[in-house]
Amino acid sequence: MSSAPQLVAVLALCAIWLAIGVAGLAALHRFHLVARVLFPAGGAVALAIVAAALPSVWGAPQSVVLPLGLPGLPFHFRLDGLSALFLLVLGGTSAGVSLFSAGYFRQSEGTAPGLLCLQYHVFLAAMALVLLADDAYAFMVMWETMALASFFLVISNHRIAEIRRAGYLYLLIAHIGALGILLCFGVLQANTGDYSFANMRAQHLSPFWASAAFLLALAGFGAKAGLVPLHVWLPEAHPAAPSPVSALMSGVMLKTAVYGFLRVAYDLLPVQFWWWGVLVLALGLASAVFGVVFAAVQSDMKRLLAWSSIENIGLIFAGIGLSILFAAYKMPAVAALALTAALYHVASHAFFKSLLFVATGAVLHATSQRSLGKLGGLLRVMPWVGWASLLGVLASAGLPPLGGFVSEWLLLQSFLFTPGLPNSFLNMLVPAVAAVIALVAALAGYTMVKFYGVIFLGQHREEKLAAARDAGSWERLGMAWLVAGCVVLGLFPAQFLDILAPVTQLLVGASLADASGGSNWLLVPVSVERASYGPLFFFAGVAASFGLAYFLVRRLYHGRLRRAAPWDCGFPWLTARMQDSAEGFGQPVRQIFEPLYRMRRELPTAFDARPRYAVEVGDHFWHWLYLPLARLVESAARAIGALQQGRIAIYLLYSFATLMALLLWVTR
């Protein structure tokens, strides 16, 4: 045991999480205990996990076997660089979210606080254990426990039918995805009956079986991550969940799917084929475009963020796809670059999306409004939440010098290496692909401006918003932690790359550290000549000219300021309703990308006495894939249901026919 100190520590910390959950169950209705003691304790445990996992990024893999599980298949746990990296993301994000939750959950909302505490901490522990699992059974158990715990969290306000529906869809797709993963492990174990990952690594699969395993993994983990076309649950489940839970689901749980996919694609499968990479790249890009285009037209703030998560997951998978492509062509250095981009985005998305989700939670509590059409001007009444979200929004829009930009930068850099691929078809494909990435990044900016502008800027769209209260101190603390994460990831990429280097070394056999030449302040993927990015200098440059300008203007001229009503163009009734609405802001995108939506519009004519305007944006996948599928199942069920039509003579006939068939079979 002593040979695996960090792993044992992390396992023990998971056990503490579980214990906190059970304590919550014991203190079912003692709200203050649960909120003020247990949730912060959970946050502390998260920090401890960060501390325990950090050294093992560089250390040798550690493993532990617990006497649980199936006979002959005890739970194996293993902590290597990849696990440690994702544990860092988990611990780092959930520390902030737990702190936020301490102030967030209210007494009289849906599920009892103690039960929420149990589900929340089981969710966290299950995610951590997914990252540690080193055999298929432990992995699947933790994986499904994670899905189950998050499902219960999603429906914690289960009296609303819509939320139940969302939870149902979520768990259904999660379960089907899990079956896919399970079958993938079935392939990987190669009929040896040994489900440990160690054995799977040792197997040499034929190309057919390897591809089968890969496709199953892609489908299974893709369903969890929200890749198109398995994304439909995501925009339903995230808004339904309480905000800290949405934050965890979007920030961390989706990343466990990324983790699982990397684990299978790079660690358990011995080889990669180039078309795998193309497939993943295509799916990732489709998700990115689809996600951002839908995010731009949402009018529910959490739903907008959920679609944006699909977009970001798409970018992550695009990076992974690219790295598989490079790895298949034996270009480890570039594969490491693309993989670094993906992993970096994993971390930065975890922080900024959690931040934005908890911010929406604070807004939701202050205003009890989720619809963008009824918010506005909150920056003035909720400055803490407002300024924290501004940073989240900037990071999410992929703007320098914050975390989101670094990963996009790395991703675009790796695209520039595709002309080196020994496949002319792929060479042709890639510019188009890079253009799509650029478009997605720009649209993300559009979406985030809409998100922030409509919620926090302008005038209050409803009277009562003026009375909204800013977040409490626990919530501020949580948000501040997450903001710090975004900023640190944005300003100190070279330092974070030190953590990523052993991981990419592990997966593709190369890392960016080989190339950067040891520069601590510049991000250098290959050489300074080729490309570099120094966010600190960058930030210093902007800040310096900002400061100089401010100083000089004050010094040379004056600082006089007058307040007056905004200019009303001579039209005396300037009301809040004249501001651009969320729908209005989405209109250009809706128009440009019209074929991607399934729109139902209700437009007024010039003569309507009571003009009404409505637009409903639907998902083609839902209409052309899921509904037909549901109908197919329904009609199949109807057809099969006719078998059971109540007449005993018919039933006897079935028996008779079965007997005849079997007799024919055996005498054949």
Partner: protein, 318 residues
């Protein structure tokens, strides 16, 4: 980081700060000439700036601190942008901090702040301007990036200094990919700098304005900063065009003489670029805002084609 490098960096930034309003004035003057008007004179932008700085700043009653911060942020971004495009020298200490992609990000950052500030007051115009600005932005930004990528593929680098160094070492000649990219860049520049045919900087007609709607609520020193920033942006775009398509005359390495020589060359090139811009603006008509996506889509397409052509033909100095 050499002393000379530092000097050229500082020189470049100050040249930009000083010359940007002049370029704006020059363009305005050329337009006036082309339209048979006498024009306000080259120095008009300086006078406007001075006037605005002297005026009181009037803020809407419920404008938030964001509204007051934004002009400084935008101004800072544009200054930095001018600092990292190699116009006078390729030996710039700031260059490793930001490459072409970061430059695009920098423009995006400024744009996002402008749009947010416009939404802050909560009038119909502000949000309308913000929306249109972001619309133009999300279409122009990828196109600009693709233009850079074309150059980056030619020079195997996204570092602007390396690009300029590579391209200026080339012999003069038409490269199809660069030609296409140049057209795309011009289209993007027109859109991004609120020029005809996308926007009209001289109008306050509600239905058509974009940039003016965005800064409608600003006055006094804030407006001055924004105007200056707009001039800097135009300057930066002009310099990008020059750096990518006419990079000759920029100082390389430790050569003070070349640096001294580079400044007049730059002025000359800028003058040509400004005249070209005025010409373009004069011969084209303002298009409906609904047509802008098509216009920018075309720019995007051209830039992508430029990249494809580069890969297909395998052109470029190897």
């Amino acid at each position: 980081m050499s002393v000379l490098g530092l000097a050229s960096q500082v020189l470049e930034i100050f040249a930009a700060l000083a010359l940007a309003p002049l370029l704006a004035g020059w363009v305005g003057q050329c337009r006036a000439w082309l339209q048979n008007r006498s024009g306000p004179g080259l120095l008009q932008p300086y006078r406007v700036l001075h006037k605005l700085f002297n005026k009181d700043s009037v803020l809407a009653t419920h404008a938030s601190p964001l509204f007051r911060t934004a002009p400084y942020v935008i101004f800072g971004c544009m200054t930095l942008a001018c600092g990292i495009v190699p116009t006078l020298s390729t030996d710039l200490p700031l260059s490793p901090a930001a490459d072409a992609i970061a430059l695009v990000g920098l423009f995006a950052l400024a744009r996002v702040f402008a749009a947010l500030a416009a939404m802050d007051v909560g009038t119909a115009f502000g949000s309308l301007g913000a929306r249109r600005e972001m619309l133009i932005g999300f279409l122009a930004e990828p196109a600009l990036l693709m233009v850079f990528f074309t150059a980056a593929l030619i020079s195997d680098s996204t570092s602007l200094t390396t690009i300029v160094r590579t391209l200026s070492a080339r012999e003069i000649g038409i490269q199809p990919s660069l030609a296409l990219a140049a057209v795309a860049l011009v289209m993007v520049a027109l859109a991004e700098n609120a020029r005809v045919p996308v926007d009209n900087p001289a109008t306050h007609l509600e239905l058509t304005m974009v940039h003016e709607a965005l800064i409608l609520e600003y006055s006094g020193r804030h407006l001055a900063l924004l105007e200056w920033a707009a001039a800097l942006k135009l300057f930066a775009y002009a310099c990008i065009g020059i750096a990518l398509f006419a990079p000759w005359g920029v100082a390389h390495g430790q050569a003070p003489a070349a640096l001294v020589f580079a400044l007049p060359v730059l002025v000359a090139k800028l003058a040509a670029a400004g005249f070209l811009l005025a010409l373009l603006e004069t011969v084209s008509a303002k298009m409906r805002i609904f047509r802008v996506p098509e216009f920018l889509g075309m720019a995007f397409l051209l830039a992508v084609i430029a990249m494809l052509v580069k890969i297909l033909l395998g052109a470029g100095p190897q």
